[in-house]
């Protein structure tokens, strides 16, 4: 059973902050099939389409029948731990400073054996549940956990290297004026965050739900407008050193595409808030977060963006908005790469139309802001990189993979 982690103490200002290091990062191209699985929280292995056998590690031909038709498919994650060892003097800096480090060899029920990181509660000869996780290098690794929940399971030292659990961490939700931001702040606080800073732009404007945030224990409203360069810089100067998880809930939704809109002023607003706001945020908070990636129990761990799934495929009814989201999606990949040396995860949460005033005329299903907030918490706990919340988002993901042209045509209606 895992001991619960203790609440972090205040930093000793006389000690140098431990800098982030990265576990080994090199992988073969084919092996990134696991990266995709880990990013989405799926357990996938290669399976031979010719003989049906699962195989691992990633191969270019089936070792049973030499077919090249090895496809990454969802696989049953159950296995049995055959043997374990504890590496005490690893040759790599990342593991050496985290030693002792426990790994094992797991025989999967579906066939292959996998070398895997071990949760402390895994025992030899006992069933385990395998998953792919993204480690601090951003690459996929196999991680075996006990099949059933155990006490304080998420507090396992090795697991916490893979997850971005809000417990004991300090969170900054950038926009508390939106329903998503409000729900996210409440959900993260409930998930054990030490404090949730909530950005409020134009504090002279009242907003719905303000009373839910103001005066709440552990929730601190801060004057913040992502689109305002000075505001982002000022706030980062104040709290940048204690933001462990940043949840970018910047939201600027306006209907319309190109021809039925006149001029660029609305588009500019969209870009101002969503895209330039993202840049301001990244420049203000990114460098410190990257530097604090190994800073103890409450190290900096994750950056979350809430994006429209139409970042992936333009929805002409909200065409310009879709484009602003696509720009943010592209930028998020840049930020992911730039945060990577700090071991900071970047998670994009894709949603369909949200149940707010801007999608009022859109028929259901729509996503409840609370569902998005819960997904953010679940994604952080699971250490994910991509999440699709709600039926519309999930459908668009699947349809995009199946036939992008069909999706493009069908979004035009």
């Amino acid at each position: 059973m895992t001991d619960p982690i203790e609440a972090p103490r205040r930093k000793n200002p006389l000690l140098r902050t431990r800098l982030p290091t990265s576990p080994p990062r090199a992988r073969s191209r084919t092996s990134h099939g696991f990266t995709r699985a880990a990013a989405e929280g799926r357990f996938m292995l290669q399976r031979c389409e010719a003989c049906g056998k699962f195989t691992y590690p990633a191969r270019e031909a089936c070792p049973m029948c030499l077919s090249a038709r090895l496809v990454f498919v969802d696989a049953p994650p159950r296995g049995t731990l055959l043997a374990e060892t504890t590496a005490r003097v690893p040759s790599d800096v990342y593991f050496r400073e985290r030693a002792p480090w426990r790994v094992g060899l797991v025989k999967m029920d579906c066939g292959p054996t996998m070398i895997s990181h071990l949760h402390a509660d895994c025992a030899e000869g006992v069933a385990v549940r395998m998953s792919f996780q993204l480690d601090k290098s951003g690459q996929a690794v196999a991680f075996a956990r006990p099949e059933a929940e155990t006490p304080n399971m998420a507090d396992d030292r090795q697991w916490r290297e893979m997850s971005a659990d809000p417990k004991f961490r300090r969170v900054f939700v950038t926009n508390g004026r939106s329903a998503i931001g409000r729900e996210a702040a409440l959900a993260l606080k409930a998930a054990g965050a030490n404090v949730v800073f909530v950005g409020i732009a134009e504090p002279w404007r009242p907003f719905a739900g303000e009373e839910l945030l103001r005066g709440q224990d552990g929730i601190e409203l801060v004057n913040f407008d992502a689109a305002n360069e000075k505001s982002t810089g000022d706030l980062a100067a104040d709290i940048g050193g204690k933001v462990d998880i940043l949840v970018n809930t910047t939201e600027y939704v306006r209907p319309g595409g190109l021809l039925d809109r006149k001029g660029t002023s609305i588009a500019r607003d969209e870009i101002d808030h969503a895209y330039l706001g993202f840049i301001n945020l990244a420049q203000a908070f990114g460098p410190v977060m990257r530097m604090r990636g190994a800073d103890g129990i409450n190290n900096s761990v994750a950056w979350v963006n809430i994006l429209s799934v139409h970042a992936l495929a333009n929805w002409p009814a909200f065409g310009a908005y879709s484009a602003s989201q696509a720009a943010c999606l592209s930028l998020s990949h840049c930020l992911r790469a730039e945060l990577r040396p700090g071991g900071i995860k970047l998670m994009n949460v894709f949603t369909g139309p949200v149940d707010t005033e801007w999608f009022q005329t859109v028929p259901p299903p729509k996503v409840a802001p609370r569902a998005i907030a819960q997904a953010v918490v679940a994604g952080l706990r699971g250490g994910l990189e991509e999440m699709y919340v709600g039926d519309v988002a999930e459908e668009i993901r699947q349809r995009l993979a199946a036939n992008p042209k069909a999706l493009e045509r069908e979004l035009d209606r």
């Binding site: 990062r25 092996s31 060892t85 590496a87 690893p90 790994v103 094992g104 054996t113």
Partner: protein, 392 residues
């Protein structure tokens, strides 16, 4: 009794065992170490460089070079060339290929050489870039390197067959005793079983004295026909038999046996001897547990009886089962790919009566084995050779 249908190694011999004494760290390159081995072997055999017409090389640290670059580097003009990247199985594999080359007269005098340097960071970099499976699915897991991989194998093996650390430790302790006779061994202090047991854990159940010390060094020997050796007046050992196997028993969920178990019948049939006829045995000892596994797989005892075998025999130079007489990699050091050569070259010295302080009396028949390439969860390559001294 297995009958071997393979062409016998009639009149194929090995000669001129060369070891360039190891150092823990070297600022020189692998090319430098291989150059020293070539120079020594030419001197020892009394031949000219131009007499060498075959070259077989193994190394982890040559950088972009393979055998072909080395011919120009060392001024060799050969008509047969091979580069063997099989880690701990390289020496046996090199011997097999060279033997057939000289037997077929594709070459007359083949130098088999392995050498590696050891810079301060070269061990880590070798681990990191070892193989694709290693890179994808082993190294990112704690970066324990071979220690962690063999720890898993050892743990499973020990549990399954009731083997204790004391049993395994006897092998390491006996080898240290042998090493104290060898002036070139890097380990120069005695090792007791108590010290072995008290050593710090590296990757449980692997402890410090289960591990080899990476170092720099080189080893080499010559392969030729008996008539060539005679014309050079070189003492030479006959090659009786060899085996080689890769990726054996792929269906075993964990490795409890190596490829030897698949080919052992043929090994002894081709040599025309039984295991108990051997005078000296040189196993591949990257970890003593692997040596114990080889005692079983090479036919000295049954599977699961390795521990009892170790308890019942004295593995030192003067014992009833002289084994890894130079001290083995555990006590001499592991000079990269040269580690594959260490046992074979020592075995050659033994049957030629050239082993000096580690010489086993009347050693005539020797078995040397190789084991290598823990690509993912197990060692993939295995090999063995039986040599006979000139008196046989």
């Amino acid at each position: 009794m297995t009958i071997s249908l393979r062409t016998p190694y009639d009149g194929i011999v090995m000669a001129a065992p060369v070891t360039i004494p190891y150092v823990r760290y070297s600022i020189d390159s692998a090319q430098w170490w291989i150059g020293r081995a070539l120079s020594a072997i030419v001197a020892q055999a009394g031949i000219r460089v131009s007499d060498i017409d075959g070259l077989c090389v193994s190394s982890f640290t040559l950088g972009a070079d393979s055998g072909i670059g080395l011919t120009q580097h060392f001024g060799l003009c050969v008509r047969w060339l091979d580069t063997i990247p099989l880690g701990g199985a390289s020496a046996i594999a090199a011997l097999r290929k060279a033997a057939r080359a000289v037997q077929a007269r594709d070459a007359d005098i083949v130098v088999c050489v392995a050498g590696d340097t050891n810079h301060v960071d070269s061990f880590r970099s070798t681990l990191e870039n070892f193989s694709r499976f290693n890179q994808d699915a082993v190294y990112p897991y704690g970066a324990g390197g071979a220690n962690s991989s063999f720890a898993l194998i050892a743990r499973n093996y020990m549990r399954r067959f009731g083997v204790t650390r004391e049993d395994v430790g006897r092998i390491a302790v006996a080898q240290r005793s042998n090493a104290l006779r060898n002036p070139h061994a890097l380990m120069k202090t005695p090792l007791t079983l108590e010290q072995y047991l008290a050593a710090r854990p590296i990757s449980d159940p692997i402890h410090l004295f289960d591990c080899v010390m990476p170092c720099a060094g080189a080893e080499a020997f010559l392969v030729m026909r008996e008539d060539t050796a005679a014309s050079l007046r070189l003492p030479a050992a006959k090659l009786l038999s060899t085996i080689e196997r890769h990726n054996a028993f792929a269906d075993d969920p964990m490795q409890v046996r190596g490829g030897w178990a698949m080919d052992i019948g043929e090994l002894y049939a081709m040599a025309g001897i039984r295991p108990d006829a051997l005078d000296v045995v040189q196993t591949y000892d990257d970890y003593p547990i692997i040596t114990m596994m080889q005692f079983e797989d090479l036919g000295f005892c049954s599977k699961g009886e390795g521990a009892a075998f170790v308890r019942q025999h004295d593995l030192t130079v003067g014992g009833d089962f002289p084994h890894n007489t130079s001290g083995g990699q555990l006590s001499v050091g592991q000079a990269g790919a040269a580690g594959a050569y260490l046992g074979l070259v020592e075995g050659l010295r033994q049957v030629l009566g050239m082993a000096g302080p580690t010489q086993v009396a009347d050693a005539n028949l020797c078995l040397a084995s190789g084991f290598g390439m823990i690509n993912y969860d197990r060692g993939l390559a295995s090999g063995a050779a039986i040599l006979a001294g000139p008196s046989r």
